[in-house]
Symmetry: C2
């Protein structure tokens, strides 16, 4: 069985029904191995379908705990699994580490930056989202977002190095700046980072540094809108605000960021010198819409129908953060892991029913499993729509849910138990500064490696 | 108590006895927080001495298992611990992350690249060793050695990426090169890397790659001398050779390396195209001898007396890979972790006896705890001098010894048990390719990050 197809049978327009090809397996190509893409792949595993999963990274990431890598509680490998391992048991699935550059809808080919085109009969786009710097992409280098392992390592690195430099500094102004972290964006990621950094900083300073005082350490959370955690009801937001304040986080709402440079943030409320600047102020979909010749609107999300098929195409689907799906109440589904996962499972089953059993599928419906954010040790919030939960009990539920999700994610119980143990005992296992780091600190010199 | 001293009392020549200063604590400065430096610091912990530990990294590393990070069995954080955590319990010890640029023996100051000079009464130099490229430092970028976490990550990255690229390659010659790993140097590190890469490669190809065959995969171990593991007796070397060959490693002794470029090694026996080139062909001491105005000889090691004091100085000591100590049989002590550790413990105790109890110390004697190398799962060698051990039993002993050493190193039993479990079950937990890697592969393009 050759992987490279006889394309002559496939010379049809993009709007036609995908061919039912007799004599060779139907080819499913999935771009993106996040929660959504992997869920599709798992549903199609060990069938007669020929499935290819393309990702630019070799690992899939449990993003909900990425902030814990950034704050040295977890190692990258604890929340990342090689895609080949995840899918290794399915003999009909091929994994490709490659960068997609476009889609040829006429030839039904996915085009790669470096490699032969990949033919598909059905194409699933699940490429997620990235941080939106709202036209200021130059801020990315000085204020990284938190989407990848690389960024998490970079943030961890800058945070730890700024403490080290503060310990050595003889200059009070410089010391104050180095011990200031500014987090831009008051959504769940910003809140989780602010809480975790506040906890880590106080703990480290008290225990490990001789020349720093906990009161020198500042975490500032900046939000342009009137409230943090805007997706949550006021009752939970108020609680989160209160808990963050208890951790010493200085929350500034209604403040716009005007410029960011290495080592300082200029806002509508004044300039803040800071050793650490983090970005979490909004996401946009990956540029996958360009591959389909669609114009960017609604943050670049691709409009899909009730069966997740991209509007105006046949055999091309989008899901998760990449897709724009309007629910029955006329609101777009949020960019959440649970949406991507449910859509992936739905689409995998639907394709199986359609292609293997020859029967049509019901439309997709989202079941809200609860929206959550964790503020710190023993403080979290849950919004189930009709019910709300906050405080210690919510934190316990958050921890249990994440242990189960993580075990399910990577099938490694021991690591997970260990994580919970480290997290609860406040041991920080992964406080590593890579010796070759490009740190982006407001540094005077760069340490050389011999 | 101010950390910055009144240096007026210290204006003496370098050859004089260190002053016994009345009215302030004696200041001990330790450069380097490896096995040796940390052992000194621990012995001096919670005394009235004022101890400063300076390192250019924020973590200390359990180097004997670094090859397992390079081959994706362990995460960096599993074998690295923040120095501040290791020493946090000792209130008289200060840790500085800084790059040392020199020693002013007249003023008794350690000079830093970026920070105020640090005054000492006694100075301990324990800065370890680095790979020796024998005048070809340009090879470092294409053939990294294995001394730091950064290098281990880089090697892991290149190894995994070369498999990914081979899976996509349409060109048989390129594929063959990508699946070839060349390891230069047949010492313990070279042998351990060769064995681990051979095992990892076969396992990954069989389980996770659809377009690669185990027989396409080659590991070549090049040694300029007549035998591998030259420090071991022939009986053990022969066994190691046999076991490596069983793993499919192609061992080439008596072969000199003439040039290394990105993607190929030119040797006295011909040119080998290779996706992965690793260097383990000899070490030299860190450049610390320059700080003391000594000329480099014997690989830059600093000659020390029976009390580890640097010859021609008072109050300056060197130990571990940095020091040259001739034993009673007229041979230099080897550059091994156990030598550094024993010397550190000795020196710490000796300083305590001298400075706190006012009594002189016995000279240092090395106790050989056994020299070991591991070839692969279930195969290792031990040389105790008078006794030798090889095979499964040696491997079991190696594993037990390393579990104990690691538990002692980082005080984390759970991680260690988990490591042993993963190692025995062949799960590879840390197969991560960082998305921003400068990989140095013979690549045609560079994957971009959005």
């Amino acid at each position: 069985m050759s992987f490279h197809p006889d394309t002559s049978v496939l010379q049809r327009g993009p709007q036609e029904t995908p061919p039912t090809v007799v004599g060779r397996p139907t080819r499913i190509v999935i771009i993106g191995a996040g929660f959504g893409g992997l869920a599709v792949a798992r549903e199609l595993g060990n069938t007669v379908l020929e499935v290819t999963v393309i990702d630019r990274r070799n690992h899939n990431l449990f993003q909900p705990l990425l902030y814990q890598v950034a704050t040295a509680a977890l190692s990258p490998a604890d929340i990342a699994e090689p895609i080949r391992r995840t899918l290794g048991r399915y003999k009909n699935i091929r994994v490709m580490l490659a960068e997609v550059t476009g889609v040829d809808q006429t030839a039904r080919h996915v085009l790669l930056e470096d490699g032969a085109p990949v033919a598909y009969d059905h194409l699933i786009i699940a490429t997620g989202s990235e941080y939106n710097y709202f036209g200021h992409d130059e801020w990315r280098a000085v204020a990284p977002g938190l989407k990848t392992i690389h960024e998490a390592r970079l943030i961890r690195q800058r945070l730890l190095l700024s403490f080290e430099r503060a310990e050595l500094s003889q200059d009070a102004t410089e010391k104050k700046a180095l011990l200031t972290s500014v987090i831009i964006g008051g959504g769940p990621t910003g809140v989780e980072l602010a809480g975790a950094i506040a906890e880590l900083g106080r703990y480290m300073i008290t225990r490990d540094f001789r020349k720093l005082a906990p009161e020198d350490f500042r975490v500032i959370l900046i939000e342009a809108g009137p409230k943090i955690l805007a997706a949550f009801p006021d009752e939970l937001t108020d609680y989160a605000w209160h808990e963050l304040a208890k951790l010493g986080v200085d929350i500034r709402t209604g403040v716009r960021v005007e410029n960011i440079t290495r080592g300082s943030v200029q806002t509508s409320g004044g300039t803040i010198p800071a050793g650490n600047i983090l970005w979490g102020a909004g996401v946009k979909a990956s540029p996958a819409h360009k591959w389909l010749g669609l114009e960017a609107k609604m943050g670049g999300r691709i409009p899909v129908g009730p069966d997740l098929q991209v509007e105006g195409t046949k055999g091309i689907y989008a899901l998760g953060d990449t897709a724009l799906r309007i629910d029955d109440e006329g609101k777009p589904l949020p960019a959440l892991a649970q949406v991507a996962k449910q859509q992936g499972e739905y689409l995998g089953k639907a394709l199986r029913e359609q292609l293997l059993d020859g029967r049509p599928s019901e439309p997709f419906h989202f079941h809200n499993r609860g929206n959550t954010a964790v503020i710190g040790r023993h403080a979290a919030i849950f919004d189930f729509g009709n019910r709300r939960l906050k405080g210690r009990l919510a934190w316990l539920l958050w921890a249990i849910v994440h242990v189960f999700l993580l075990v399910n994610f990577e099938k490694r119980l021991l690591v997970t138990v260990q994580w919970l143990w480290r997290y609860v005992t406040r041991q920080r296992g992964a406080r590593l500064i890579d010796e070759n780091a490009a740190t982006g600190l407001p540094a005077t010199t760069h340490r050389s490696e011999t």
